[in-house]
Point group: C2
Chain length 414, copies 2
């Protein structure tokens, strides 16, 4: 049998009854004869509570110590889940991320997995154990625990699935799968049975919270088949794989979902007098701080003025604003940040060949009086920056415009 | 400057104000120019809460997973305390027990420190950092975290002080020092300014909760000077060192304290028919389970009957009862356990040369109608087993009998 990797999020292990339900599922996989590796997040609310406590102790929240603190949450959840599984007579063994061979690099709070050494896991699986791995964490070159940033546990699961050549990576969460839009915003949003990994990566980057973009990118790169399902209700969920989508040709060349993101800030850098392009300095700063960037647009020189505009996460602004200002000061550059914005995106395939999708999107927003400042088009996604307080309205409008609530994937929408 | 090791218990870091107070003291040691290593327990109540949760998830509480779970408590406290220290502008760096080089062996839940590799700590101290180490835990040969059992954080602190040749090891707790008796039982119990390490080890073993016996033994063996002080109120506390006691000759050859222990069970093993001595088998079982033993008495053969009686912790009974029964079954042995007992001890030096101490103790108990079953005398301690519900009365009585409440150490008591 090929190994199965399952990942359970914080809400799936939030309390003892939830943990017991998860243990049943893990035991079921084990009894089917699958060598089973489980990746688990901290119990729901635990990470926030630890972060709150850290802020009370030290408002600066020193990143290295915050990582040592937060990592305890996943370790505790892994130990508890292993106990719950053992209670069912199934041998289970918890491992911290470092102990499980997750090696990571990058800055504290935003680590990226650099390598995976599965020696210890394989050893445990060979003994017949279920292995429960603390997600969201790895060991860096300094020998410290480093956390993997948002969606880190998903990435842990996919990386392990890739390295163990697992049959599949099952991500259990609190929604029934990948939806055509956020169901809290669009009540009639629909579960997509299959999504292309590249499309999924775009959705995730555009704000779909179900799976983190880095996890999806890794899955696409390593050809790991990811199943997204609810740990609370039965259902087939969503299969993310190139193969799944080939079997559903009707989903190609159409808009499949609307995504939105409120964790967005718009940054504009201008050098009006020096006549020098700030882009290399700006991008170097963002790279040095491992800050992901979107909607990058550079213009100039126009009357000696260069401009580079882009969006980053609101939560990354504090991290990079001072370094950015320092980097462009020698060029007489000015940095302006606007956090009163949100990002709305439509997701599909082949959008560059089909500009009518973007046209239809912009027309619908304009008709509704929703101003769009920056717009960016790629083969898989068209995104627009809109005022923060119009985002929800824009998502509902576009979900309806592209007929996504229909019972079957909608070919006729564009 | 020589290194200072400080240890703070769970009540000293129970909440944010307590943690800030501790941080002030740590910063003070750093500013005095001492390379400072801090050992910290889990926040007060955290360990109990995790244990409760473990019991809900799996009533068997599988020991290996319980250790992985409990160890997170000290790691979290260490990270939080490091943050609190950094807030004062003092560089601080938290390390888990394994990361700090604490290597341990033994069974889960009752590990013993086997070796200490201080490379990482010395490296951090050389950088000018305060190093905050998670107590109560080490790394075993299997690569797992193992917890050190009761008083484990004290032992961590003393082991680090020994290995770092620290000037002293300061143990901060919720009582003002080592007292002549438990102040909850004897309100006029007095702080002892100095105690001989061997006397202290006997006191700890006899039930004085302020410091664990293993920590004291290690301190005596490695000649580490231990200072016990309150982290809540000012005061000189108690110095535990041979040197300290030499300077206070009046404390020699007298009873210095009364200790008691309610975590006691009396075990009697008899082999009436086989004519074979069960002692080697019995002691081998206790050793195999790392269970400490006290008041060992062996008798026989008398009409073919051998007996061995001893006390162990009540909390260890479940661990060893079945193995004991199995070990002595081939000898026709019978094992009887009585948990309705407690242990009362008077502590002093040279007691074997001064049997009048023991005589006075037994006379006082007899006069008060408190029955004593087993009695054991050593050079540093006389202990008696009394009914569990008479322990408190016996402690008060003996504290008064030996005049321990006096303002100065009482030479005239015996």
């Amino acid at each position: 049998m090929r190994t199965t990797v399952q990942k359970y999020g914080g809400t799936s292990v939030a309390d003892v009854p939830a943990m017991r339900r998860v243990a049943d599922w893990v035991a079921h996989s084990h009894h089917e004869g699958n060598p089973t590796v489980v990746v688990v997040s901290a119990r729901g609310g635990e990470t926030d509570q630890l972060l709150r406590l850290a802020g009370e102790v030290n408002p600066d929240r020193p990143p290295r110590e915050v990582d040592q603190l937060l990592a305890t949450g996943e370790c505790a959840a892994a130990a508890l889940l292993a106990m719950a599984v053992r209670r069912l007579g199934v041998p289970a063994h918890s491992l911290s991320g470092p102990r499980a061979g997750i090696l990571a690099s990058g800055r504290h709070g935003a680590g990226v997995i650099a390598a995976v050494d599965t020696t210890e896991i394989r050893h445990r699986l060979a003994d017949g154990d279920v292995v429960v791995v603390a997600g969201f964490q790895g060991l860096n070159a300094a020998g410290d625990v480093i956390t993997l940033g948002r969606g880190g546990s998903d990435t842990t699961a996919v990386a392990l699935a890739a390295e163990l050549s697992a049959a599949r990576c099952e991500i259990y969460t609190d929604v029934p799968g990948v939806l055509t839009a956020d169901p809290r915003v669009v009540p009639n949003a629909r579960v997509l049975p299959g999504v292309d990994p590249n499309v999924m990566a775009e959705m995730a980057f555009a704000g779909a919270r179900v799976l983190h973009s880095r996890a999806v990118e890794l899955a696409a790169m390593e050809r790991v088949e990811v199943h997204v399902r609810s740990s609370f209700m039965p259902g087939a969920g969503t299969v993310i794989s190139g193969r799944a989508v080939e079997e559903m040709l009707e989903t190609r060349n159409s808009i499949v979902a609307v995504a939105h993101d409120l964790d967005v800030a718009r940054v504009l850098v201008r050098t009006a007098t020096s006549g020098r392009d700030p882009a290399p300095e700006v991008l170097a700063v963002l790279a040095a701080h491992t800050v992901p960037v979107d909607l990058v647009a550079r213009s100039g020189p126009q009357e000696d003025e260069f401009r580079i505009g882009f969006t980053i996460r609101r939560s990354d602004v504090d991290e990079v604003l001072t370094p950015l200002r320092e980097a462009v000061a020698p060029l007489d550059g000015r940095v302006r940040v606007d956090a009163h914005v949100g990002k709305v995106s439509v997701i599909g395939m082949g959008l560059l060949n089909r500009p009518e999708c973007t046209a239809r999107m912009l027309a619908a927003l304009a008709t509704a009086g929703i101003p769009t400042s920056w717009v960016s088009i790629s083969q898989l996604r068209t995104s627009a920056i809109v005022p923060r307080d119009r985002v929800v309205e824009a998502v509902s409008l576009l979900h309806e415009t592209f007929g996504l609530a229909g019972a079957v994937p909608s070919m006729a929408t564009v």
